[in-house]
């Protein structure tokens, strides 16, 4: 039986394009491709070369504080109170005197979602092209303060963090954005952080004539940031299995999670096939998938078993064995046919998060062994 959303989606077939589209097409393109001015044709190659240098080191900042201006919000929430992000459920408390506004901007590839808190009415009509658009900063008053907290969805996926950031975020953990490619507004204090397995960013702008009360209020917004408690046995934000709390898995333990024990649809289960092992090493939690595919005969695919006594993983009946960090041992030692190690995340509330989507594509980067 189709689910309701599938049922609704099929109703799209009831729609037909309007007559006359072909006639419009035959008349030729109506939009002109954007043409650069002559000055820009000269400057652009130089600017592009400079941009490459800057972007290489500050990709995140350039995306966030891009030189263009502009902003738009979909949900306006002004005044003091606690505000909750509709997507990820994190919340901030906004003191009296500041106004908060939720925004969601983006295009086909990248969407930004977050809250903007200001002591002044931001000019949301200023043009801009960044994600999120930052044009509202171009009219930053000298006595103003502003806080923006946001996440980006889309773009190249990064590996899951080994551990969420510690909350509350400390102002001392912020640093001045350098280099800053914005406009004449004050250079912000900036940091990235992880919450419930996802990456976010926070920036604080403080005008040179801002009074101490508003400065304090801006940092109070940052300190008030909280993420929701996770529930074990759920599939968080369509991305992470929420396993038990870290304290349940002693250091050195290996815990089996059969696919049948995992929440989510069959489509999700297809990503974990036979389930996985959660390993707690001194430096990190990580996962080894139980389904192993090896480019060797006699078996190219097997369900891994774990030999607790030897602390080794093996394919039953094949003689293939791997040590605790997935390196082949015995006759296959040094062959390079390692088992993929997938990082698991210790969330801000102590739960372990594991995403099946990164299982087959990313190897863990622990800058050394998780056991040292």
């Amino acid at each position: 039986m189709p689910e309701r959303w599938q049922h609704e989606l099929r109703k799209l077939k009831n729609l037909e394009p309007p007559p006359g589209l072909w006639d419009r097409a035959v008349l030729g393109p109506r939009r002109q491709p954007a043409r650069m001015r002559r000055t820009w044709r000269v400057i652009a190659p130089i600017a592009a070369a400079l941009a490459v240098v800057v972007v290489a080191g500050t990709l995140g900042l350039v995306r966030a504080f891009g030189p263009a201006a502009g902003s738009s919000g979909q949900v306006a929430n002004h005044g003091a109170g606690r505000f909750t992000d509709p997507g990820f459920g994190w919340s901030i408390r906004v003191p009296a005197g500041l106004g908060a506004r939720h925004f969601r901007n983006g295009d086909l590839r990248v969407t930004s979602d977050g809250f903007r808190v200001t002591s002044f009415p931001p000019d949301l009509r200023a043009p801009g092209s960044g994600t999120p658009p930052m044009g509202w900063l171009r009219s930053f008053p000298a006595d103003g303060v502003a806080v923006q907290i946001w996440g980006l969805e889309g773009g190249p996926p990064g590996p899951p963090p080994l551990r969420d950031s510690a909350f509350p975020l400390s102002p001392s953990s912020f640093s001045r954005a350098r280099p800053y490619v914005g406009g004449t507004e004050p250079r912000p204090w900036y940091r990235g952080f992880s919450g419930d397995g996802f990456g976010f960013a926070a920036a604080v702008w403080i005008g040179p004539q801002a009074n101490p009360t508003e400065r304090h209020a801006a940092w109070a917004v940052v300190r008030s940031l909280r993420f929701p408690r996770l529930r074990e046995g759920t599939f968080w934000h369509s991305t992470y299995y929420v396993l038990g709390r870290a304290s349940r898995y002693p250091t050195g333990s290996v815990t089996t999670f059969p696919a049948s024990s995992l929440p989510g649809s069959r489509a999700v289960a297809a990503h974990v096939h036979k389930g996985f092992y959660l390993i707690h090493a001194p430096r990190a939690f990580y996962v080894i998938h139980r389904l192993s595919q090896q480019p060797v005969k006699p078996s190219t695919q097997c369900t891994l078993a774990f030999d607790r006594k030897a602390f080794q993983f093996y394919c039953p009946g094949t003689g293939l064995r791997w040590n605790r960090v997935g390196q082949p041992i015995g006759a296959r030692a040094g062959s390079g046919w390692d088992l993929p190690l997938v990082p698991a995340t210790v969330a801000q509330d102590g739960h372990i998060l594991f995403s099946p989507f990164w299982g087959d594509v990313l190897r863990v980067d622990l800058r050394g062994s998780p056991w040292r």
Binding site: M1, P2, E3, R4, W5, Q6, H7, E8, L9, R10, K11, L12, K13, N14, L15, E16, P17, P18, L21, W22, R24, A25, V26, L27, G28, P29, R30, R31, G70, S72, Q74, N105, G106, D107, L108, R109, T111, L124, R125, P127, G128, S129, E153, G154, P157, H237, S238, T239, A267, V268, F357, V361
Partner: protein, 169 residues
């Protein structure tokens, strides 16, 4: 030298774009309509303009349908971005609802608006147009892995918004 860009590698001057329009335009228009979260004018403009550009470059495009989809997505994205830059009247104008209501989409269109643009595109191409993931990726100009993530999140969100089961009542 590894070769020319794939869409222009072996142009086929014999493509009958009128036939391509008859075959592909309804699906393309519905996809862009959903991608633009019910903004009919955006869908009309993007599809007409994409075909106009295809006709202008006829003979240079090897595989017209994915090219048309990518072009229409880009044009619609520009329109949506432009729409966001306009001064915001209060309250924010709703997309034209009349055709959506008439087609029984009164529940779907608001739900689609809660998804990201990429999620909308992936969901509609995969579940409404029944395209395999690789083909969805080609038409969106992205990777199959990214499509899977968009599909999963989009499906999950729609399930949250619209409920799991069909209401038989």
């Amino acid at each position: 030298m590894r070769g020319k860009p794939p869409d222009r590698a072996r142009p086929d001057a014999a493509v009958n774009y009128e036939q391509v329009f008859r075959d592909a335009a309804p699906g393309l228009w519905r996809t862009i309509y959903a991608f633009a979260a019910g903004r009919r004018a955006v869908a009309d403009d993007a599809v007409a303009e994409a075909f106009a550009r295809a006709l202008e470059h006829a003979g240079q495009i090897r595989d017209p349908v994915p090219w048309l989809y990518r072009t229409a997505f880009r044009l619609a994205t520009e329109d949506l971005r432009r729409e966001r830059r306009k001064p915001e009247p209060e309250p924010e104008p709703e997309p034209d609802q009349a055709p959506a209501s008439a087609a029984g989409l009164a529940a779907l269109v608001p739900a689609l608006r809660q998804l990201s643009a990429a999620q909308r595109a992936a969901v509609v191409l995969h579940y409404e147009a029944d395209l395999p993931i690789q083909e969805v990726a080609r038409r969106m100009g992205t990777s199959a892995g990214a499509v899977k993530v968009h599909l999963f999140r989009g499906r999950h969100r729609l399930r949250e918004l619209l409920g799991e089961e069909v209401d038989d009542a």
